[in-house]
Subunit: 130 residues, 6 copies
Amino acid sequence: MSIVPLLDDDNLPPASRAVFDDIRKTRNTDFVNNFWRALAHDPVLLKRTWESVKEVMAPGKLDPLVKEMIYVAVSATNNCEYCIRSHTAAARAKGMDDDMLMELLAVVGMANETNRLVNGLQVPVDDAFK
Amino acid sequence: MSIVPLLDDDNLPPASRAVFDDIRKTRNTDFVNNFWRALAHDPVLLKRTWESVKEVMAPGKLDPLVKEMIYVAVSATNNCEYCIRSHTAAARAKGMDDDMLMELLAVVGMANETNRLVNGLQVPVDDAFK
Amino acid sequence: MSIVPLLDDDNLPPASRAVFDDIRKTRNTDFVNNFWRALAHDPVLLKRTWESVKEVMAPGKLDPLVKEMIYVAVSATNNCEYCIRSHTAAARAKGMDDDMLMELLAVVGMANETNRLVNGLQVPVDDAFK
Amino acid sequence: MSIVPLLDDDNLPPASRAVFDDIRKTRNTDFVNNFWRALAHDPVLLKRTWESVKEVMAPGKLDPLVKEMIYVAVSATNNCEYCIRSHTAAARAKGMDDDMLMELLAVVGMANETNRLVNGLQVPVDDAFK
Amino acid sequence: MSIVPLLDDDNLPPASRAVFDDIRKTRNTDFVNNFWRALAHDPVLLKRTWESVKEVMAPGKLDPLVKEMIYVAVSATNNCEYCIRSHTAAARAKGMDDDMLMELLAVVGMANETNRLVNGLQVPVDDAFK
Amino acid sequence: MSIVPLLDDDNLPPASRAVFDDIRKTRNTDFVNNFWRALAHDPVLLKRTWESVKEVMAPGKLDPLVKEMIYVAVSATNNCEYCIRSHTAAARAKGMDDDMLMELLAVVGMANETNRLVNGLQVPVDDAFK
């Protein structure tokens, strides 16, 4: 059970309803996932978070699929199950297959490993990298 | 100062020298950065780490530039300065410009933010994501 | 299932029983939550942890409610479900309502985001902050 | 040295200049710290981050000083030096003295400790906390 | 449910089958745990991970039990339930009893606490430790 | 510079002086490192932290050297430079040589890697580990 109840469509504050409308229109689906239903208790937080995610994940100089994979990489590093599952699903919807997922996780694992080798040895940054 | 001295080329154990040779050949440069010079004290760890990095970061179904950006995303999440600087440099060498870096970091920041909103609210995973 | 069995009142080592007595007296309730029942296997660890929590969370220059919210902020950052749920409950018992929780989590999310923007850009500390 | 150059006032993109104007007006000071000077390369990211921080840290149901202390708690947990120093300075400007800082850090330390005791023992959540 | 299906013995890619054979032979048991069954989708990742774990966890200058306890310490710090449970089981199989586990977790908790006191106070490293 | 000034022996609150006396007596050296000099502003926090560290790191069912190595493992995972350097120094004083350090860090790196592979794949815990 979530810490605050998930709001269904009949119990939304009006300002949250407007955000839900935009989520549905932007994503072209009626489905609104639980993350937004929890945030809906606070229309200001909901609106800011949705507007931010929409802006950050939009096509830019990076491909939306690459952005989703970066989202998965961070979420796997932090071990946020909800985020791992929802953004893995989003990446798959944008074309990531299982081979690509395994390659992605191999990089995530390796980076987490070498980060700690560097920490434990306190390796000084090479001048070439400054 | 690093926790173990960085080994210069004249003080390498023979098995570490062989790994350095492969690093130079694979990267087509004489430059071997400090990370490997710290690991060089333990030829087994050096060899395994280098072979793993070489395998993981090689072109596959993901582009090497995408892999470098994922490496940066993890390292920024974990705050490993050496790893951030060295892999940002590597990503730039593969074509990442400042606009792409800013987009990358925007996703990293957003993922770290929403990971904690999800945690704090203990949002249950939607059936659609299972 | 926990890694070590949770001890019920009939199976406590005597030294752990004395700590449970103090927990009950201090909190003015018969309820002793699972965290202490797991620690009870090691009376020294139980006693030290309880005495420390009691001292740290007592009213001081910071209000006990503020302390509970800080505890939630750390636990959400680390994603410890047990700690999030138990300290959110404690904060609510001390007066935190849902609006305050959402504000708290908004700060936690923002801090986690900007922490990574700073890391990824390696922003040097301004002289004014030293 | 930061990963991207810090922009001084004479080299700002126009859209970033407008954000700097709002930072100065909102904070009633001419000083703009390095974090914003690094973000200024990307006016969209700068504007979104500034608007979000302004909204999140504004007085609400939580006191601005409490919000700053929560920011410090998260930053100390993540070990972001820049964020620890800048938000400790901000908290001090809002009234936090050394005794309050020490109490704050005592809670942060304790939470990080018990989070790991809970993890290591995999303590199940009590029904009372659900 | 895992993100990729767990492969049973009848559905292994041939290269993954060979790794499973080595896992069984090395561990002298027919049991292959779920971690390897998930990795089995990617024989290259499976083989590299297994060879690495086998090499790292083998008896060396550190005792295998000490290595398992270090694995538990890291996994409890990161809150990876699967890793905590599997490596606690492995440590127990190598001789760790409940008293030793509690001592181990007490150190893990204390280190996580003092790490954050140090962070929050930005304590400079003593010359004696450099 | 630390966030609070480091207190030299001439400026200690009396209650902190008593703790310093015990640190010196217990460790059989006149040297008191910076961590304690920062905590000395808050005699209650200083005393509790010192008593806890003394208790946790004392010989028990785990060897003090093993405890120091676990401390290093956690600190490398969290990237706390002060803690890494001070506890590596302490482990060396108790007999850890460079080969043992490299083995320790190899385990730390591997655990951090497989923790994230497990997270990213959401591997369910085997019944055998419950």
